[in-house]
Subunit: 479 residues, 3 copies
């Protein structure tokens, strides 16, 4: 059986200077900077890990296919794009029609297409996980698929693979989940009650009740009334219920809220207009334009509440969700069919920033899928407004090139200290070390580039590397 | 006289490691990868070479000015931008007013301004062509202009410069032309009839009959009726005529269609609405909005036909054609006055992709002049929809930096295998080897960067280099 | 006291090969190219230095805080973004409420936050200025703040720090200021009258009278009537008054005009429509749309006048000025709260270019804060229209990365010779050498990259380096 201790601490076959620029001088500096931060604890202020993993001390990840393939739309979308049906990969259908149930078969198909991930961040993370967690150093392919399946399956049996144990071995300092406004946070309560010292914190995400066009919005509002104990009959009680939930989340350790919108549009409605829109929605009569305006208004309300209760406000902008109707109907949400759209912040955020942007009690962290806004809008906004910080490159851009472009386009104008460090933003708990490690390596390489060009000196570089790896995230999220 | 054999196979003075990154380690890997693909046949699935070149075994290119300058808007636009009148370069006017007829004079002017091409792809291609095809290794300037003119003119006399002979010496495997829907493909027929084994295939381009705002649209539709033998009196007969032409092109060896539009807008019209718009156009009453909507509808129709007949569908989006009215009136189309505009794919292509994007019988290859869509829209679309592939960087971006940015922004998300390899997209047949060579070098350098950073290993790099240089284009175009 | 001669000529502790790429081969070439242009005179065709500096031979810069901090929104915006109130930095309020008056206190706060500028262009310029002008080679921080304050204050006492003396020691060849259309150019006249041989030229900037939505527009128009001696009662007299002022500026040595607009929209109004809009504005009834259309029309008028009088036309597009209302009300304009917006040139400039773009008497130099237009619109426009040249990367993008991206995205399509060299665009006269030096170094490094890749040879590289550093700016501005 695999020597877990060894592989987890990185004794596998991967080169110690991987992902750095090839220039020898830069590489040496990058390695030195990287080594100075490689051992720092992992701060995970935003992500989508299921708190159940830690609530249940006996939680197990299932088969290799259940661990790596079925829950990861980064992976199966790539096979789907090459004509592999999702059913053949074991992805469950909504209509419960047949899907592959033999996990070895699905794994075989995945392994056969592993070359598709060449040069992709998913390919890097997978290789890192396979090597670091399971001691798999061969490249996966159709020939070795079953042997590697066996190797992973054996590893997964080990008590070392319980999530709580991994949390400790990964050296995670804190991990924030993302939870619906209507969530009673039972898993978080169970974690607290268990006495286990891991720090798993909830994050307040009210999208389903705030965005009027959410499927089943009225049911979500009903649920909001139930969990808050405040019957939601109008805009006013809606706001009270949200405030109640924020207070509850805060009691449960939450440090932040999270908001997703296709656009960054913000604009304050008059109280009567907000009330009218809300009533229309309750009657099932709200249109697209109503939903758009109400979301824009609620972002201002959420900023107001953040000023008052101190919860950090995250805003994720720019995904056209469920672009592929057929896939959505057959398989549901989060199936690799979310496609970015253009974003705009300068006009859209102005109402919010003019009202709250100068208030240092607000911390607004911006995420975005349109890189053109990095240098043009986001960096100048973060480089001026005290309330604004920039989140790390998101989703498709959490990659070696994506991170490099982010540094390149943001840092000169925003300055390092108006960014919010890293967050892994992942459902895949076992991939967390690989993601942080890639960020730390990319950061070290960027800084090494500044050092060898004489832009910053080594002492400055060290402080910046530590900030990127650890300090900025803690400060930005008030952890 | 020049030793053609020698120069064509690249014994000229150009450095073997040109265009690679300067880092010694990366350069060595790049050279190795490049050499592994440098000798592969050229696959040319999209371009604008006139089939007459191959239909007429005695075709000659004329004077050096006729070969290099007069037909190449990449070149004369640059001189024009610096105040050189197009008339002085021998470009024929539409109104047949005077233009320079002394080709040596025009060449002299070109040579005098040759420094304008420093650092441009045109400058690179010209240098490569002059060296590889004519043994000209001096930099062109006002002083040596006439001597070099003589040297080129002598070369052009050689039987080695017949297009069929060049095709063979360039090691072209297949070359696709671009042909109007109304073209009878007489030259293609002549090539077939001649028994010459070169593979010259037509491509079906119906823009002139599909885009209602084409100048002389009704004449084109009339011609469509004539060549198809289907009188086009309404939308229904129009569709039948198009289907007939597609079948004819396919019989003649076509593998693909090509469609140009300023925007990627697609939206299905009801049959009655389509019929109504078409009637309006027949009466000469279609407005801009009608043309826009009809094109958007016809893209869906073309996708439907591709699903049925298997022709690969190419879509080129984003040029504002004939931006300069004065130049258009005096000299006509393709005079270097086409300027890109912003593009949008996420919303615009959704109707088409929701209808046909999950169908593996469709292959939709996208081209575009707005690089901001690479990472934001195109790569995520190609990385999800089975039908979508990304064409190589187009036009202004078929350049060392343009290719590098394309790799940088597309590959991590789309994956290499959702791209369509290279196509030279040129009218200038003699420039084809230089264009492919630049692509192969740029690809090798990009891959070397991945290898030296430890992202892919050398075995993977070799396969990827071959895919970029050869396999992907053949697969994407079903050649 | 500091040995000024020594530090100004660059004997300070900064590495001679700073800011170059780390590759040894490229760095050697970069250094050689840089050294070939480092000593060339500084051509400053566009900027915001106050002509008073040169009109008054006894002008002094005040305290270190008055020199570096109070006038420089690049600096104080960064501290503000981190929660430091502008009042604490000594920035004067419009309402004359209390602000820090102890310059040493403000300096201490600045020094304490100096690490915020790590990796920013401001950080580079400051370090260069401190080292080159004041011999300060320690990094500024809270500990050495007062000692460095003393060192700078002592330097500022020296006669070497009179602006005229600095002009000579900086080796400035010509410096253009930016002056309102209503300015009587008294300082410029005083400079002329003084017999001092420095070349300080005015630039005609009519924004305040051309943009109907300028605060106090009618007062500006009144002033225009007064200085021109042409009573402005209607559109016709307005145009005459502008023509009169242009002639006056030209007499006073002006070579150029400058125009700022949020968008590049141009569209010609009929004379009656222009007259009607102008009347509406005189009555205080012009709305946002009126102002937008009138500006778009006046850009065409300004191009017409440039064709006639030969003044180079500069157009700066894309800033949302005074984005932060609270800051604007408290502190006024230019407080670091200008945020870029998306720009569009292909459609917007077409009316102007179709009317004047083929006329070589017009020189239109374009500036822009939306880098996405570099390769997509600006480079193709400059690479076609004889009248169009591209200004250097502006504002936030006048930085190491910004310059590199500009070269990368513009040069292949536009060609070097359709760009306008460098301009420092600064209010901060003492920072001018550092800004030009950074440009020259960045240019040398870019060219070295072309040389080591075999794209251009060393002879070409030298000519290009000289063009970037000196020739292009002189030619573009007809100096």
């Amino acid at each position: 059986m695999v020597q877990m201790e060894e592989v987890i601490i990185g004794k596998a076959s991967l080169a110690p200077d991987r992902y750095f620029s090839p220039d020898a001088a830069q590489k040496a500096v990058a390695l030195e900077l990287y080594q100075s931060v490689a051992g720092l604890p992992l701060v995970c202020p935003h992500g989508h890990v299921d708190p159940r993993l830690f609530a249940d001390p006996e939680y197990t990840f299932g088969s290799p296919t259940e661990l790596f393939l079925i829950p990861d739309h980064y992976i199966f979308r790539m096979l789907y794009s090459q004509g592999v049906p999702l059913e053949a990969l074991g992805i469950p259908r909504q209509d419960s029609r047949a899907t592959e149930t033999d996990h070895r078969q699905a794994w075989q198909l995945f392994a056969k297409h592993f070359h598709l991930f060449r040069g992709t961040p998913t390919g890097i993370w997978l290789r890192e996980e396979l090597a670091q967690l399971f001691g798999v150093t061969e490249k996966l392919d159709g020939g070795n698929a079953q042997a590697i399946y066996d190797q992973i399956a054996a590893g997964l049996q080990s008590p070392e693979f319980k999530p709580r144990r991994l949390y400790e071995r990964f050296n995670v300092e804190v991990l924030c989940t993302t939870d619906a406004a209507t969530d009673r946070l039972a898993h978080h309560q169970a974690i607290r009650d268990s006495g286990w010292p891991g720090r798993i914190l909830p994050t307040f995400r009210p999208d389903a009740v705030v965005n009027l066009d959410t499927e089943g919005w009225r049911d979500h509002v009903l649920a909001l009334g139930e969990v808050s104990g405040i019957e939601v009959t109008d805009y006013r009680s809606f706001i009270h219920a949200l405030e109640q939930r924020r207070a509850f989340f805060k009691d449960m350790g939450a440090k932040a809220t999270d908001h997703a919108a296709r656009s960054a549009y913000t604009s304050e409605l008059s109280p009567s207009e907000a009330a009218r829109l809300f009533q229309r929605a309750l009657k099932g009569q709200a249109g697209d334009e109503d939903a758009f305006r109400f979301t824009g208004h609620m972002l201002l309300e959420m900023a107001r509440m953040s000023v008052e209760d101190g919860l950090v406000m995250q805003l994720h902008v720019g995904a056209y969700r469920n672009h592929n109707e057929a896939i959505f109907h057959r398989f549901g949400r989060d199936m690799g069919a979310d496609i970015p759209v253009q974003a705009e912040f300068t006009h859209n955020l102005r109402p919010l920033l003019n009202k709250y942007g100068n208030d240092t009690r607000l911390a607004l962290i911006l995420f975005n899928l349109d890189e053109t806004t990095y240098g043009r809008e986001l960096a100048p906004l973060a480089g001026h407004y005290p309330a604004v910080k920039l989140g790390p490159p998101w989703w498709f851009f959490d990659s070696l090139n994506g991170i490099r472009r982010f540094f390149d386009e943001v840092m000169e104008t925003a300055g390092l200290y108006n960014t919010a460090g890293f967050n892994d933003d992942t459902r895949a708990f076992p991939s967390i070390p690989a993601r942080h490690d890639l960020w730390r390596r990319a950061g070290a390489d960027w800084l090494a580039g500044l050092v060898v060009r004489g832009v910053v000196d080594m002492a400055g570089g060290r402080e910046m590397a530590r900030a990127l790896a650890y300090d900025l995230a803690k400060a930005a999220y008030r952890l």
